[in-house]
C-alpha cells in the first residue's frame, strides 16, 4: 500500500505550521507502518493534547485523541483488553513528560507492549511557546522572558531508568533512521520509547534565534552523532542517536495471561 492509504486525506493539508517537525514524524511513522505491512484494523493510535497529538486525527487507524498527558493510561486500558492490537502513542514533550511524566515512567516500568513516540520540540506549541521540561536551561520562551532556569530531562536516560525495554533517539533530519527506529520499536515486544528531536520553527526557532525549519534541521544534524562515534569522544556535548536499549523482559499482557491461567487453575482445584 502507498502511504496515502494510511491517512485520512480529507483533512489535508494538515493544521501544522510550515516546516513543522511533527509532519516529518508523521511521514516517518507512515513509512514504518507501510514497511511492516500492518493491517490498519490492528493499529490503535492514542494521543493526548497539543500540536503533536493532532497526529491521530490524520491517520486511518482506530484513533483515540484523549486528554493532556494521559494517552499512555488510556492506551494501557486498550492494550490490556485487546493485547493483539498494536498500540502507538505519539506525544509531545510536555504531554509525555510534564503532565504525563508519571504515566510515562509507570508504563515503562510495567513493560506493557506499546510504542511511545516523543515528538520533542522542546516547547508548548499549541498554547503559543511556553517552556517545557525539555526546553533546558537558558532557553527563551513566553513564560521564560528572562531565560529559563529549569533544567531539562534527558528522555533516553529517563526511559532507561524507568525500565523501558527499547529506547531510541533520532531527529527529523535523520528521517530514514526515524522510520527504521519506529519500525523496530513497533516490532519490539514490550514498552518502546522513540524520542524524535523535532523542530518548532514558529515558537522555539523564532524565540531562540535558531532560524526556520531548514536551519533547525541542519542544527540537529550538527549537534547529534551516532551512538559510540569517534566524534562523540572529541565533542562530548554531542547528542547520540540510535538504539540505546533493546532487551527482552517479560511483557505485561503476557504476564497477565499467566495470572489468568494461575487463577483459573486454582479455581478448578
Amino acid at each position: 500500500m502507498a502511504i496515502k492509504d494510511y491517512i485520512r486525506e480529507r483533512f489535508f493539508p494538515h493544521m501544522w505550521c510550515p516546516g513543522c517537525g511533527h509532519g516529518v514524524v508523521l511521514n516517518a511513522m507512515l513509512r514504518a507502518i507501510e514497511n511492516l505491512g500492518l493491517n490498519k484494523n490492528d493499529i490503535v493510535m492514542v494521543s493526548g493534547i497539543g500540536c503533536s497529538s493532532r497526529i491521530s486525527g490524520y491517520v486511518d487507524f482506530h484513533t483515540l485523541h484523549t486528554v493532556h498527558g494521559r494517552a499512555l493510561a488510556f492506551a494501557t486500558g486498550v492494550k490490556m483488553s485487546r493485547p493483539e492490537l498494536h498500540l502507538i502513542v505519539p506525544m509531545g514533550d510536555g504531554d509525555a513528560l510534564a503532565i504525563g511524566g508519571n504515566h510515562f515512567i509507570h508504563a515503562a516500568r510495567r513493560n506493557i507492549d506499546m510504542t511511545a513516540v516523543v515528538m520533542n520540540n522542546r516547547i508548548y506549541g499549541m498554547t503559543g511557546g511556553q517552556y517545557s521540561p525539555l526546553s533546558g536551561y537558558g532557553i527563551s520562551a513566553t513564560t521564560a522572558p528572562y531565560g529559563n532556569i529549569d533544567q531539562g530531562f534527558d528522555i533516553v536516560e529517563l526511559a532507561k531508568a524507568a525500565g523501558a525495554t527499547f529506547v531510541a533517539r533520532t531527529t527529523t533530519y535523520h528521517v530514514q533512521q526515524a522510520a527504521e527506529l519506529l519500525q523496530e520499536a513497533i516490532l519490539h515486544k514490550g514498552f518502546s520509547v522513540v524520542e524524535i528531536m523535532s523542530q518548532c520553527p514558529t515558537y522555539f526557532g523564532r524565540k531562540n534565534k535558531e532560524g526556520g525549519a531548514v536551519e533547525m534541521m541542519k542544527r540537529m544534524k550538527d549537534i547529534t552523532t551516532p551512538i559510540g562515534s569517534k566524534a562523540k569522544e572529541a565533542q562530548p556535548e554531542l547528542i547520540e542517536r540510535g538504539i540505546f536499549v533493546r532487551k527482552d523482559l517479560p511483557e505485561y499482557c503476557s504476564e497477565y495471561n499467566k495470572i489468568i491461567e494461575r487463577a483459573q487453575k486454582q479455581g478448578r482445584r
Binding site: 489535508f12 510550515p18 516546516g19 511521514n27 528521517v175 526556520g212 525549519a213
Partner: protein, 68 residues
C-alpha cells in the same frame, strides 16, 4: 537491478506549505520554490531518486515516481 530512473515528481500544491526543506536538503538541488512559494522540480534531469524530499516533506506533498 540498475539505478532507478525518475518518471516524475508528483507535488501536491494544495498540501505544500513552502517550507523549503525539500529544496535545501536535495543532494542534487533538483527542487526549487516557485513564485507562489510552492515546491517544483526545477531540474528533474538531475534527480537521483534518493527520495529524501519525499521522506522529509512535513506535508506529505511529494511523491517520486520511478520508471518500472
Amino acid at each position: 537491478m540498475g539505478k532507478p530512473k525518475l518518471k516524475e515528481h508528483i507535488i501536491n500544491r494544495d498540501w505544500c506549505k513552502g517550507c523549503g526543506i525539500c529544496v535545501e536538503f536535495c543532494p542534487k538541488k533538483v527542487l526549487a520554490l516557485d513564485d507562489r512559494e510552492k515546491a517544483v522540480a526545477a531540474r528533474p534531469e538531475d534527480c537521483i531518486c534518493c527520495r529524501l524530499c519525499e521522506l522529509r516533506c512535513p506535508d506529505l506533498a511529494i511523491e517520486i515516481l520511478i520508471e518500472e
